[in-house]
């Protein structure tokens, strides 16, 4: 047989193939990976937009629906970006399929980039559909659309990295769901999705400033409706620093092959 040779080789094809595979993976089970989170977010929107939202106003000048929608979009982005990398990589580790990748020329940067971009795509797809549904209940002023998009991308990037890290450290599927139930979900709910932290009595308001998700949610809301508990600069600065820390951590683990290569 004719063996493969240098001329036929494309150094970025392994990356594009892995990216394609990761996108196909969540697309194939889209009922679970796209439809389910969209339905959940739709229910939140219905409750806080069409029912309670009509009777509540906790920030002057904005309806409650307008206030809560950016947080719900961000929740969809965060949960799904995290779920994509964590479940895909952990399943590969758990079922042994990871060895199929480890023997290929896919480099660690390509590995991280492919998993991250697929997770970002899933998170941003869910976020976009949640936003489209939200237009039925309230329209957002989109004060700084570019900053809003950047914040959404930053959140999806950050939680794609966190998903990779969680998948590497996890010993079982239970551990992955513990990350979601006992870490991400409480941080989202306490990070100001449903209320501005300025209404909290002290010291809870100060404690909320330690929650990294508060900066993502607040920065995104600030960009979309022009109201935030902190300045753009603080939200972006904090989120970028955290994204870099998570990226370096994930890159170090994958570059080293920690728990991937014996």
């Amino acid at each position: 047989m004719d063996h493969n040779n240098e001329r036929e080789y494309s150094s970025w094809l392994p990356f594009f193939t892995l990216l394609r595979k990761e996108i196909l993976r969540f697309w194939r089970v889209s009922t679970q990976t796209l439809l389910a989170p969209i339905v959940t977010a739709g229910l939140y929107l219905f409750v806080f937009g069409a029912t309670l939202g009509e009777r509540l106003s906790i920030v002057e000048g904005y309806s409650y629906a307008q206030f809560v929608i950016p947080g719900l979009i961000m929740m969809g982005i965060i949960n799904n970006s995290f779920a994509n990398t964590s479940s895909s990589l952990f399943m590969s580790r758990y079922l042994g399929g990871i060895v199929d990748l480890l023997v290929t020329p896919v480099s660690p940067p390509q590995f991280i980039l492919a998993y991250t971009l697929a997770a970002m795509l899933r998170g941003l797809l869910v976020g976009t559909v949640v936003w489209l549904i939200s237009t039925v209940f309230a329209s957002l002023p989109w004060e700084s659309p570019l900053l809003g998009i950047l914040m959404a991308m930053l959140a999806s990037f950050m939680f794609a990295q966190f998903g990779l890290i969680a998948a590497i450290y996890a010993q079982s599927f239970d551990t992955i769901s513990m990350y979601t139930s006992f870490l991400i979900l409480p941080l989202i709910f306490l990070g100001g999705v449903f209320y501005p932290i300025s209404i909290l009595p002290e010291p809870w308001g100060k404690f909320s400033l330690l929650n990294p998700l508060f900066y993502l949610i607040d920065g995104f809301r600030h960009a979309l409706i022009g109201f935030g508990d902190t300045s753009y600069l603080v939200s972006f600065g904090f989120s970028i620093v955290l994204a870099i820390i998570l990226f370096v951590w994930a890159a170090w683990l994958i570059g080293k092959g920690y728990r991937l290569r014996a």
Binding site: S10, L13, L24, D100, L102, T104, G257
Partner: protein, 315 residues
């Protein structure tokens, strides 16, 4: 025996070490595999074969030492070496998101090689995967999973194919079919490194054999030479009249009487000629009824070297 034109070795391993939690699994082994040969790496479970293979493939990190494939270092130039190597893992690898056809197409891409429909179809045909192309792995039988894994390992047309126990748990007919296919791709220029528990198959398939035991390489040479060098040939002489004592003059052959003196066992010395022993027997005028010879095989050599049963090779 084959003749090789001396050229760059397909694989060179130098002073390879690996430990897990302080326990040495591979203890400084050296060997090389010539291009175009079928090389067998044998040994009992826990001998270090799979660890060695996984270090070559990149699944296990090197403890220390050096591995190069076709002149490229497998650490510094890992993208080159991995592209030239195809691996059939011992454990069945399952990805239930994709069908056989989809997985094969994706797999070529992982190696940076565009999908070649002609080559893919050839593999599908030769490995009998056509009726199962649109099934996910979970729906395949054990034998089909093995065949699929071989197709997957060959989809990027590697120059070195590594088969780690490819026929474990596979029925006889399929085993024969797989080995025939391996021979075929070897004839077409692919170098083969294999491990198997079926020693008779290793003896039949491999040009050279290395035997590992407790992380060390305890033997390595041409299969034929290894068997000849280490094997014992036994001459069984059935006598018309029983003997009471072992005849004098045959001490070199470690004679032994059995079956109430009716059977004389002689061990032929290594490199010894049967004709010479027969002349001695004629000179002794023994009443011979029948003569049998028994040549040991690779399994006997394996047992002799490792002290273990080749088919049931202990911990």
């Amino acid at each position: 025996m084959r003749l090789y034109i001396r050229r760059m070795d397909a694989l060179v391993i130098k002073n390879l070490h690996k430990s897990f939690d302080g326990v040495a699994a591979v203890k400084g082994i050296d060997f090389s595999i010539r291009q175009g040969e079928i090389f067998g790496l044998l040994g009992p479970n826990g001998a270090g074969k799979s660890t060695t293979i996984n270090m070559i493939a990149g699944v296990v990190r090197l403890g220390s030492g050096q591995i190069s494939a076709f002149g490229y270092d497998n650490q510094k130039d890992y993208r080159h070496t991995r592209r030239m190597i195809g691996v059939v893992h011992q454990e069945i690898v399952i990805d239930n998101f994709f069908t056989v056809d989809q997985a094969l197409k994706l797999h070529a891409g992982y190696y940076g090689v565009k999908d070649d429909p002609v080559w893919r179809q050839l593999l599908i045909d030769r490995l009998g995967l056509e009726p199962h192309l649109h099934k996910v792995m979970l729906k395949l039988s054990g034998g089909l999973k093995r065949r699929f894994m071989i197709a997957k390992a060959l989809i990027h047309r590697p120059r070195l194919l590594i088969l780690d126990e490819p026929t474990a748990g596979v029925d006889v007919e399929l085993r024969h079919g797989l080995w025939e296919f391996v021979r075929e791709i070897n004839r077409q220029g692919t170098t083969i490194l294999l491990t198997t528990h079926y020693l008779e198959e290793a003896e039949e398939m491999c040009d050279r054999i290395a035997i590992m035991h407790h992380g060390d390489l305890i033997a390595m040479e041409e299969t034929h030479d290894l068997v000849r060098r280490l094997s014992n040939r036994e001459l069984r002489i059935w006598l018309v009249q029983p003997l009471e004592n072992v005849p004098a003059g045959l001490e070199e052959c470690r004679p032994e009487l059995k079956d109430d003196g009716r059977l004389l066992l002689l061990n032929l010395p290594k490199g010894g000629e049967v004709g010479q022993v027969l002349s001695q027997l004629c000179a002794l005028k023994l009443p011979i009824r029948d003569i049998e010879t028994d040549q040991s095989n690779l399994e006997d050599v394996f047992i002799q070297l490792t002290g273990l049963d080749g088919g049931n090779d202990g911990p």
